[in-house]
Amino acid sequence: MQLRSKDLLGIKDLSAEEITLILDTAETMKHVLEATSKKTAHLQGKSVITLFYENSTRTRLSFEMASKFMGASSANVASSGSSINKGESLLDTARTIDVCGTDIIIMRHSQSGAPHLIAPHVKASVINAGDGMNEHPTQALLDLFTMRQHKGDLKGLEVAIVGDLLHSRVARSNLWALEKMGAHVRMAAPSTMLPRGLEQTPAIVCQTVQDAVRGADVVMGLRVQLERQQKALYPSIREYAKFFSIDDKTLKLAKPDAILMHPGPCNHGVEMPTSIYDGSQSVINEQVTNGVAVRMAILYLLAARRNG
């Protein structure tokens, strides 16, 4: 089985079978990561470019590590220090990268749909590493991978997603992915951070964080995106922390073996206290490791598809 599209633009475009294929492939890749010599030849002779218009630590680093572990030649185009700062259009930049002999472009952009714009105009495969408020598909895939490692089957899993649902591409991608895999999603946020239309999705919107977390198998916090916070959607950080954080007491409402997740970076004391972030139920650092494995799997599958 292969991925159907040359690009990975969003979870919305993937089938449940494709998601399973990626997760299964990531299992193999995780063994590579655990080996003493982290080297494969899967991307030998392939070129991978990271094109990041927005800041990133985890996503960019894990993609770069994944490329290097698999023997690709990789380079980074940052918006500062490139012609992007001279006002070059996104399409022109993408075409330029493409004709340098690039096989895979990994792209992050503050505008929703930016990777969808370039994908039809380049021969390279385009991986969406986060576009505006739309999708962050590789994050959702690493989240599912982590859930599957801990919980086995995703079907029937109760997943609580808590925080800034309005701006979160992580929440959107997770919602679409979990829905496809048969999991149940409950969501809670300050009501000013609930996007209109959420009631038309399969997600159950809860009045309180406690309602969402109660009986859950997985509890996922979302970062309060201070950089996207154009106008005050909540009165103060301390009020947010008081009513919308996942604290010890709240986490106890989940199933005893529930895992706690967060896509990072975390605002400690806002989304959750440090005691929880570092606590026994937290799999937050595991998510990062799994991110490398999942991104290796995606790079491998897209490269395999290119080889025909």
Partner: protein, 420 residues
């Protein structure tokens, strides 16, 4: 020049009838009898003859944005769509906020244009929403209305003054209804599609609240106001209620608001990005209902040409608007007349007679004493709308490849053939 157009089915949007008869033109005017033998006889057998259409809401981009459109290319595209007069909005560069720019547009249109151009002056200087523009001086030079289109008049106080002052010069204020703190830089209708695409939404109440405000101001003053390009069920209902109370409110919608929904934005299609945004099927149904029951007086295109570089970019950064001249009649005919929502004379009234009344122009009738602005249209043969054939400089339309009825065959402006 004496012209006889014979054998066509003539639409009368006053009596709301159609009859097969000859139409006579002499010296650029319709006449009851020619002074001698016709010098030209045009056989219109099998065709429908309509008054030239009048588009109450367009952007010609001239002066200032001639790379998008200018008075020549814009009016050429208009006559290809059967339009013989266009009201052009003032968001040019410089803004139409003084008599000199009005004169420039009128003169250029008269010298080089393919149809009549009716400039709309700004409400406020530089469309800044602070001080009234020189409305009286612009009226002397021929503006037909005032509007800060695209930049809504944010303060109720300025809107009240504008309606009052414009009325003194027999001009109506055209309101672009948008409460900008609610629209807040959104890119499409707020709802399930904006959620699924991760785009910031514009709630319907951004339009409804401004419509309500301007209706109340007009009602308080007992003066007219015209609401532009309405897109929501809510604003239509507000107009319906206001009309029932006797408020002098008129309004228009655009072809895209009765043919498309927010679904057209999927795949980040920037040719479906406009302001107000495409809404839901419920809104489309309400607009068709409003057209049927007369709540919506007229149809304008909001023709908004943009360069490809302003559309083939990130959805959130792309400019709002689509071109509309060459598809508007066919969309109206295909989506309103063929399904039985409107009769052909009703559609023609909304696209010619009613805009003529709004602007107090002697146009929009095939009647002795009126200028011979006329369109011959083939209603029978379907055609595929081809954006590449457009006379506009722009190609930003979501209707490329649509099968439509209502192909314009020939357009006369003041008795002269301007398109065939």
């Amino acid at each position: 020049m004496k012209i006889k157009i014979s054998g066509g089915m003539v639409v009368n949007p006053i009596t709301m009838t159609e009859e097969q008869r000859d139409v006579l033109i002499e010296n650029g005017m319709f006449v009851d009898d020619l002074s001698g033998q016709p010098e030209q006889i045009i056989d219109a057998t099998g065709l429908t003859v309509m008054p030239g259409l009048i588009d109450p809401h367009t952007h010609l981009r001239d002066p200032g944005f001639e790379y998008r459109e200018d008075i020549v290319s814009g009016t050429k595209a208009a006559v290809r769509g059967g339009i013989t007069a266009v009201a052009c909005m003032p968001n040019t560069k410089p803004v139409i906020d003084n008599p000199t720019i009005v004169r420039y547009i009128k003169d250029k249109a008269a010298a080089e244009g393919f149809c009549k151009v009716l400039p709309v002056g700004a409400v406020s200087k530089n469309q800044d929403g602070k001080e009234l523009a020189e409305i009286g001086l612009m009226a002397e030079q021929g503006i037909v209305a005032i509007s800060d289109d695209g930049k809504p008049v944010l303060t109720a106080d300025l809107m009240k003054k504008a309606i009052q002052y414009a009325a003194q010069f027999n001009l109506v204020v055209i309101s672009h209804c948008e409460e900008t703190t609610l629209a807040d830089g959104g890119h499409m209708n707020e709802g399930i599609v904006s959620l699924e695409m991760g785009l910031k939404g514009i709630p319907t109440i951004a339009e409804d609240i401004m419509a309500a405000r301007d209706i109340l101001i007009a009602e308080y003053l007992g003066l007219p106001v015209h609401l532009a390009h309405l897109s929501t069920a809510g604003s239509i209902e507000l107009v319906r209620q206001a009309k029932a109370r006797g408020v002098q409110v008129t309004c228009e919608t655009c072809p895209h608001y009765f043919t498309l929904t927010e679904e057209a934005c999927r795949d980040f299609n920037t040719n479906a990005k406009m302001n107000p945004p495409l809404r839901t099927q419920m809104d489309v149904d309400a607009i068709i209902c409003g057209l049927k029951d007369g709540t919506i007086d007229m149809i304008g295109t909001d023709h908004a040409p943009h360069h490809a570089d302003e559309k083939q970019i990130e959805f959130g950064l792309a400019n709002n608007g689509i071109i509309g001249f060459e598809s508007s009649f066919a969309l109206g005919y295909t989506y309103l007349v063929l399904p039985g929502h409107l009769t052909l004379p009703q559609l023609v009234a909304k696209m010619s007679t009613r805009p003529a009344e709004l602007f107090h122009q002697k146009m929009g009738r095939i009647e002795a004493g009126y200028p011979a602005d006329l369109v011959l249209v083939d209603l029978k043969k379907p055609f595929s709308f081809d954006k590449h054939a457009s006379a506009s400089k722009a190609r930003n339309t979501p209707f490329h490849g649509w099968m439509l009825h209502g192909l314009i065959k020939k357009t006369f402006c003041d008795g002269k053939v301007v398109f065939e």
